[in-house]
Subunit: 129 residues, 2 copies
DNA sequence: TTTAGTTACGTAAGTCGTAATCATA
DNA sequence: TATGATTACGACTTACGTAACTAAA
């Protein structure tokens, strides 16, 4: 029996579907096609053994477990994104200029790790898994 | 060039290699073979554009960027594990029994995908990716 | 009929393991 | 030579997209 293993693409799909409430819209955002997103969500549910969404005619509504897991997944993806940014080479380079917004502590040292919130405009690279 | 995308298996390999300081030993722990682990580390480095380890005769020593990223990766994997545990179904139940439950619409056609909730079996496998 | 999600299936891409190669003590 | 990492390559597995299907309004 092929043990499917959780994947970052699946987590991204999960978060996106939860945000837009629809596999169709999520697929467009992810530059994928409906069946692909369906499979990613389904394989996640299979692995976790939990139904993450309730399928209604209008789209996808998270179950309580789904909503909780979505929050965790969102955090994981965010941390991974930050981790990537932290060690990104060529920080002062020209390509892929990143704009960072920080609500606190930016006057002392810059950039600071202790921001309360970041906004990063990441070129296409960080968007898709 | 094919854009390789970060994978949880790669992160697991990264953390393991960093902990044991050797691809050979890490491969054994991961139930993989040397070249496979080598590729996972290399593709991570390629994607990040950073050298994560310094290759010395005795094994693998993390670079500063590598050490930092390993910490982040470790945290991510831990959080993901916790998230899985949080929503794990059937916490005290009998495992290994398949139960399909559908609260609705099962009288028309079976099986139906429009159930409000399913319960399906999941043999335990939270450990490995 | 329209909208949305799912399944079937062929093809493309990725991953693994074996074996050979390179580098260092 | 001995140890450990890397590359080459064939086989297997997985993931995508197209097309067809099912369910609900």
């Amino acid at each position: 029996m092929p043990r499917r293993h959780m994947d970052l693409k699946q987590l991204t799909a999960l978060v996106t579907v939860a945000e837009v409430g629809s596999i169709t819209k999520a697929a467009r955002l992810l530059h994928l096609v409906q069946p692909s997103v369906t499979r990613q969500i389904r394989s996640l549910e299979d692995e976790l053994g939990v139904s993450l969404f309730r399928r209604v005619a209008s789209g996808m509504t998270p179950t309580p477990e789904g909503a909780l897991f979505v929050e965790r997944a969102r955090r994981v993806l965010l941390e991974l994104d930050r981790a990537r940014a932290e060690i990104r080479p060529d920080p002062g380079g020209v390509r892929g200029v990143v704009t960072l917004g920080c609500s606190r502590a930016w006057s002392r040292s810059w950039p600071s790790r202790w921001c309360e919130r970041w906004t990063s405009i990441t070129p296409a690279s960080s968007s898709g898994w």
